[in-house]
């Protein structure tokens, strides 16, 4: 009958708060609060050598840190397993060719390219981590500003890289095709989107799908000890695609709204 404990329907998200450019010494950052889940993502652009099999592309490196502030289970090395799982999922989601234009990150084929180090910090764990992390990563990539570089060639043939002096002269990334993860948890006979901690404890199996803004599925992963019926997997995929499209629309609207406020925007940060 489409009524959950907190009054939401099966396809409703909790109220989300998104803010970008919260960390000053990164190339791009974003903070997302989805109910009690609090995620901070920072993107740093550094120069590196391209990978051997893809000499004319840059690449992304993900690192997830489950801070001990989130829940007591993350004390010491408790959060490492969850961190590597989330990082591997992010690698998988971004492994598709179309999600982000890596060729624009190349400076000199085979020699220099931009490497984007995406660091995710879990500040508070309140259910539905993957969705919140993917929203934060997309917002941080939207906010990333990579300085423009010029390659100067010497008489002997050695190349020099020159960084432009103007701090506002930078390239932005196109995040239109960056996918977002939608987690569908199976509880009883129905499936729900954006499960809280209590709902996650009741669900035996979940399906993580990454959807682009056009509704295309880029990756799928099943988590949990329970089993899923093939028909319910199809239903969940359809729901995920529908929800994913509206998620992208809402996120893009808020990012554009934030952008339009420009420098007059009052930064709330962490002491709001």
């Amino acid at each position: 009958e489409d009524l959950r404990v907190d009054g939401r329907g099966c396809e409703d998200y909790r109220c989300a708060e998104v803010e970008t450019d919260v960390v000053s010494n990164t190339s791009g950052s974003a903070r997302v609060k989805l109910g009690h889940t609090d995620i901070l993502v920072g993107v740093k652009a550094e120069m590196g050598t391209p990978k051997l099999e893809k000499p004319d592309e840059g690449y992304l490196e993900f690192f997830v840190d489950c801070s001990a502030n989130a829940t007591p289970e993350f004390e010491g090395r408790g959060g490492e397993e969850l961190g590597t799982e989330i990082a591997n999922t992010l690698y998988r989601v971004f492994s598709s060719e179309s999600s982000i234009d890596l060729k624009s990150l190349c400076i000199n084929p085979r020699e220099h390219c931009w490497v984007l180090y995406v660091d995710v910090l879990l500040l508070e764990c309140g259910g539905n981590l993957f969705d919140a992390i993917s929203i934060a990563v997309k917002a941080a990539l939207f906010n990333t500003r990579i300085p423009k570089v010029r390659v100067l060639e010497d008489e002997e043939g050695s190349k020099e890289i020159e960084l432009s002096d103007d701090p506002y002269d930078c390239i932005r990334l196109n995040v239109d095709d960056v996918p977002c993860i939608v987690t569908l948890s199976k509880i009883g006979y129905r499936h729900v989107v954006d499960a809280t901690l209590q709902e996650e404890a009741c669900s035996l199996a979940s399906l993580l799908i990454s959807v682009t803004s056009k509704g295309a599925l880029t990756s799928m992963k099943k988590v949990g000890k329970g089993s899923l019926d093939p028909e319910s997997i199809f239903e969940m995929m359809e729901t995920g695609k529908r929800v994913g499209k509206s998620l992208h629309i809402a996120l893009q609207k808020i990012l554009d709204e934030e952008e339009s406020l420009g420098t007059s925007r009052q930064k709330v940060g962490f002491l709001g």
Partner: protein, 294 residues
Amino acid sequence: MAAITMRLPVARKAVGPSAPRGSEKHLVAPGDTITTDTGYMRGHGTYVDEEKLIASVAGAVERVNKLVCVKALKTRYNGEVGDIVVGRITEVQQKRWKVETNSRLDSVLLLSSMNLPGGELRRRSAEDELAMRDYLQEGDLISAEVQSVFSDGAVSLHTRSLKYGKLGQGVLVQVSPSLVKRQKTHFHDLPCGASVILGNNGFVWIYPTPEQKDEEAGGFTTSLEPVPLSDREVISRLRNCIVALVTQTLMLFDTSILYCYEASLPHQIKDILKPEVMEEIVLETRRRLLDLEG
């Protein structure tokens, strides 16, 4: 249809107290000096260091004649005899159950403090001990009363009345124990169609009002019939109202929950958790409570 709302964060100002209290509350943090006067006796939450009385918890100072104590705002539940608690069974041991009640130590429910089905009064035998798991298993929720408090602070519970026992279908909300007001009765049948148990330990249980009072069962049988949608809507709305009251740190008692429920009726259930709607409802509730007092 999916409803996804995203917003930019806004610095929230705390909704201040609408009316000045009779006396200014003396708030302290751990390490703050309360007084340097040595004539006072030290109560809970204080300690003496170099002839100064210093607070060990964060809260408000309470002075009763010569006794000074600090009542903490957010603590674990400290058991008092006669309190009603709602707890979850964590372990089944030899002649007792261990119950989790949001206190420093697990509470204990002895087999001899539990009613036998049918209301028999006899000594518990070995068969009763072996059949303990049939009555209460790990993960079950119970309502009970505090019988006594051990010297280490652990609480001993009893369910020696037909109104206590295993809880059936409903919703549990966990709040801070300091927000539950001490009243004559903690079992309320709200006129909106649901019943509420306000446990002194901060566990609030909301459940659909049972049609007839089943006296013979003694609180052991739980009906697993599906709850109708109208009841579930009322329960979800009450749950969101309680969460709103707790977020704005208002004391929980039957009148405040009822006023908050009535103030929230114009909004949709899921909208109650939005910060601005929450502030509006709680402001309205506060106003009505002040009207009631004054």
